[in-house]
Amino acid sequence: MLANPYVISLMTIVLLFTFLGQSWNLMLGIGGQLSIGHALFVGLGAYSVGVLYVKYGISPWVGLLTGMILAGSVGASIAWLSFRFQVRGIYFALLTIAAAEFARIMFSGWEFVGAMQGLFFPAPTGGIEISMLRGDTRFYYFVALALAALGIIGTEFISRSYLGYVWRAMRDDESAARALGVRTFQHKILVISISAATAAAGGGVLALVQGSIFPDSIMGMGLSVDVLIGPVVGGLGTTFGPLVGSLAAIPLNHLMSALGDSLRIPGLNNITYGVVLISVVWFLPDGIWPAIVRLCKAIQAPPTAWLWQSRKVEE
C-alpha cells in the first residue's frame, strides 16, 4: 500500500491532522478550553519554519523550535489577557477566531513573509537530509507517523499525570476545582500554551510537506475547522479519537472531492462533510472511538482497546 504515492501523501496528511487534532483535543477535551482559531498556531509554526528556511537557509528543526516557542507565548498571552478580564467559554472561543483572522490578514499584507503570494520551499533534491528535515514523500510519511505516535504517547503521559487530573477537573467544574485548590488560572494558560506549541510543530511539518505556505490556507478558518474535525468525529477527550476521526474524515473528504470533480458537483466534499459531522453528532454523540470501545466490550473481545480506552473514566 505504501508503494502508492497518492496513498502515502494522503496518510501523511491524516497523520499530521491526527497530531494537530491531538493538540486541539488536549485543550478542549482535557483542559475544557474551546479554540476555534487553532489555525493561528498552526500558521505561526508554518511561517517560522518557512521564513527561517526559505529566507535564511536555517534548518527547519530550529524553525520548529522557534515556532513552538512563538506560538506557545502567543497562546499564553491570549489566554492571560482573556482570563484576566474574565473572557471565558464561548467568548474565549470567539477571541481565538478573532486572533487567527487578525494574524491571517496581517500575514496576507506582509511582504517580508510573501504576503498573498506565499512562501515556497525549494523543490526537494530527492535525497533525505535529516538535519534539514528534507526528503521525499515517504520520508515525510514517516515524520508524520513519528509525530502522531509522539502525540499519542504525550497525550497518554499528560493524561495520567497530575496535570491530566486537575485539567479534567477544571474542565468538568471550574469552581469546584478551585475550591479543591486547583489554580485554574495558571492551568488554563499552561494547557493553552502547550496546545499552541504542539499545533505549531504540526504546522511547521505541514508546511514542509506541502512545500508552500499561503496565509489563507494555513491561517484560514477552514484550517481551524479541519483541525477539530478529527477529535470531534473520533471522540473528544480520548487519546485515540483524533486518529480514528482523521482516518475516517480526511480520506472521505478527498474521495468526495474527487467524485465531485468527476460528477461536476462542486462542493460535494463539503456537503458530505457536513452530513457526516451531523450524523456522528446525532448517532454517536461522544464520537467513533468510544463507540468502538463499547462495541469491543459488548462482544467480549477486548483487543488492544482495553489498554488504551478513553481516559475519561480511569480504571
Binding site: R160, S161, Y162, Y165, V166, R168, A169, R171, D172, D173, S175, A176, A177, R178, A179, L180, G181, V182, R183, T184, G237, K312, V313, E314, E315
Partner: protein, 241 residues
C-alpha cells in the same frame, strides 16, 4: 485552646438584599461548631465568604491570624480550609475516585499518593465500594458524601460542611457523625451547617444561629435551643426536628 478562624463584622449584600449582616464569631481549633438558621438565613453565603468564593461587602475573615477575605478560593483551600457545596458539584465525567483525588493534588503531584489519600477519604465516608463508578451515577446522598471526601483529601485544618447529611438514613447519618467526631479528636476543626437538630445537639460543642443574615444567638447547643429568640425564628419558619 487556640482560635483558628475569626469572622469579624462580616456583611454581604446582593443588590438590595443583605444576605449576611454584621456577623462575628470565632472557631476554636479541634472543635465542631454548628451554623444553623432557617432557610435563607445566610449560612451558605457565610461559607462562601469564608472560602473565598464571595468577597464580603464589609468585615474581615482571619484564618490562623491572617486575613483571607481577599484571597481566591484556591488559595484559601491551600491554606487549609476545605468546603463542600450544598448544591453538589461532582466532576461529572470523572470517576468517584478521581473526584476524590483532585483535592490531594493541592499538596502532592504524585498520582499514586493522591490515589491512596483519595481511597482513605472515600473509606471514611463509606464510599470506597463505589470508587470506580462515574460521579454522576451516584445517588444524591452519596454525592453529598463525595463532596465530603473531596474536601477531606485536601488535608484541611478547617472543614466547612454544608448540609452533607441531608437525605441520609439515620443509621448512615450516625456513621458520619462518628467519623466527624473522630476527625475532630484528630485535631480537625469543623463548621457544620445542619438542619436536623438531633444531629446538631449530638455533634456540636457550640452553635451559631443566623436569622435574616444576622447572628441572633451563640453558645452551647443546650443553651441555644432554649433561647426564645431562636425558637421564635424557627417556629416562624417551621421547626425541623
Amino acid at each position: 485552646m487556640t482560635t483558628l478562624l475569626e469572622v469579624e463584622n462580616l456583611s454581604r449584600s446582593f443588590g438590595g438584599l443583605v444576605a449576611v449582616k454584621d456577623v462575628s464569631f470565632s472557631l476554636r481549633a479541634g472543635r465542631i461548631t454548628a451554623l444553623i438558621g432557617p432557610n435563607g438565613a445566610g449560612k451558605t453565603t457565610c461559607f462562601n465568604l469564608v472560602a473565598g468564593a464571595l468577597k464580603p461587602t464589609s468585615g474581615r475573615v482571619l484564618f490562623e491570624g491572617r486575613q483571607i477575605d481577599n484571597s481566591p478560593p484556591e488559595t484559601v483551600c491551600r491554606m487549609g480550609i476545605a468546603r463542600t457545596f450544598q448544591i453538589v458539584r461532582p466532576m461529572r465525567e470523572m470517576s468517584v475516585l478521581e473526584n476524590a483525588m483532585i483535592g490531594a493534588f493541592s499538596w502532592t503531584r504524585n498520582v499514586s499518593e493522591a490515589r491512596s489519600k483519595a481511597y482513605e477519604s472515600l473509606e471514611s465516608v463509606g464510599l470506597a465500594a463505589k470508587a470506580h463508578a462515574r460521579a454522576d451515577q451516584l445517588t444524591l446522598p452519596d454525592r453529598k458524601m463525595l463532596e465530603t471526601a473531596k474536601a477531606l483529601s485536601t488535608r484541611p485544618k478547617l472543614l466547612l460542611l454544608d448540609e452533607v447529611m441531608a437525605g441520609l438514613r439515620p443509621t448512615e447519618a450516625a456513621g458520619i457523625v462518628d467519623v466527624l467526631q473522630r476527625l475532630a479528636e484528630g485535631g480537625l476543626t469543623i463548621l457544620l451547617v445542619e438542619h436536623v437538630m438531633r444531629i446538631v445537639m449530638e455533634v456540636a460543642s457550640r452553635v451559631v444561629v443566623l436569622h435574616h443574615g444576622a447572628k441572633i444567638a451563640e453558645g452551647p447547643p443546650e443553651e441555644v435551643v432554649a433561647d426564645p429568640k431562636v425558637l421564635e425564628s424557627y417556629l416562624g419558619a417551621g421547626f425541623h426536628a
